[in-house]
Amino acid sequence: MNFSFIEKYYKFFLNGTYTTLILSLLTVVFGVLGGLLLSLMKTSGNKVLKGIATAYIEFIRGTPLLIQLYIVYYGVQGIPMFTAGIIAMSINSSAYIAEIIRAGIEAVDKGQMEAARSLGMPIGLTYKEIIIPQALKNILPALGNEFIVLIKESAIVSVIGIHDLMYNTDTVRGITFIAFEPLIVAAFIYFVLTFTLSKGMGSLERRMKVSD
């Protein structure tokens, strides 16, 4: 195997990794905010809100991310590709995260809500002090998994020309006429990113487990 290209082209991999990280990070932020909103809509008593959230979640989860990306990119005239990438990824992950959050909240024992309310705690305070902290512990493993999926799936934005790790890897392959080895480098970098994240989430989970 010939990895001599790294010396000359390592900057492509560095810049691509940077773009992939920024894209994933922004998607996580918007995805969690969107997911929280959707899960609250879905668990609310309001039938219209519930219907909208349910339809959105079902549709997004039932269609390929690639098509969603194309629809956003080609559907909105003149949208910058990076913006299109973030929007499409956020729309997609918010639907998955919404379900994770909803399940996490519903998994908290009903007695917890009753005990807090019987002390005289208002509903908002009950969520803040009692339900959300416990739900977070239920949610964390699935959420960490979702973040890892997100980093990997983000490679798809290379098809609309965002210079992420995948795109830049292809560029290096094109310039050097080395078809195989750059892929190994890219795979290794993706693995380092996701492995670090999963280890980080693991230690966070352990720290939250003190009360188990």
Binding site: G111, Q112, L119, G120, M121, P122, Q134
Partner: protein, 241 residues
């Protein structure tokens, strides 16, 4: 103190409470007994509006709890409740379980709340569990902490929903002892339980419920030794056997 008038509760088509009327005065200990499905727990849960009655009204210290205008959260502070499943907050230490209410709801300064919590823990000999999480406690300890959590709000009345039903037999005693002490101190208590010994010893009045109604009530002596109603006799013959 609590005046219940013609309380009705339905779950779907099933009518669980069929017009309950009863008055409880300050300092009284009222024990509710009856077969499962008789509506006794539902009745108790209506008293602090954990279940919303479908009809009738509940008057607590001159306030109509069943009115939509009543700010129920404020009045719940004065109605302590103890559950069969303890429902301690698993992510908080024993002390934090106890002082959360006073700090968040009564704006009690933290050091004052801690002093209160420690005083309560000392009283029941559980001070060594101060910084423990609930999952490390035995069932009996959990329930005693749950009682302290309710007491920390200085309630005017305490509701007990089968407080010893999910305890191992050897732990029932410590919880009942604590409840007896409370009764001696003059706490107004409404207790749903299957512990007939406790009912006999502590209750001022026993209500026997069946099929959503109060079938019979009376002082323990009278109700246990000379029940008037057939259904009461039948129930007692089963539980006292």
């Amino acid at each position: 103190m609590i005046k219940v008038n013609n309380l009705i509760k339905r779950f779907g088509k099933l009518e669980v409470l069929k017009g309950i009327s009863h008055e409880i005065k300050q300092g009284e200990v009222v024990v509710i007994i009856g077969p499962s499905g008789s509506g006794k727990s539902t009745f108790l849960r209506c008293l602090n509006m954990l279940e919303h009655p479908c009809g009738g009204d509940i008057n607590f210290e001159g306030v109509l709890l069943t009115s939509a205008k009543t700010k129920i959260d404020l009045h719940r502070q004065k109605i302590g409740m103890v559950f069969q499943q303890f429902n301690l907050f698993p992510h908080k230490t024993v002390l934090d379980n106890i002082i959360l209410g006073p700090i968040k709801l009564k704006n009690m300064p933290k050091d004052q709340a801690i002093a209160l919590g420690e005083k309560l823990l000392n009283r029941v000999g559980l001070m060594d569990k101060r910084d423990t999480y609930p999952n490390k406690l035995s069932g009996g300890q959990k329930q005693r902490i749950a009682i302290l959590r309710a007491l920390a709000m200085s309630p005017d009345v305490m509701l007990f929903d089968e407080p010893t039903s999910s305890l191992d037999p050897e732990m029932v005693g410590e919880v009942l002892e604590m409840m007896k002490d409370l009764a001696k101190e003059g706490m107004t208590m409404i207790v749903v339980t299957h512990e007939m010994g406790f009912a006999k010893e502590v209750a001022d009045r026993i209500l026997f419920m069946d099929e959503g109604k109060i079938v019979e009530m009376g002082e323990p002596e009278q109700l246990f030794s000379a029940p008037k109603e057939e259904r009461t006799k039948l129930f007692l013959s089963k539980v006292l056997a």
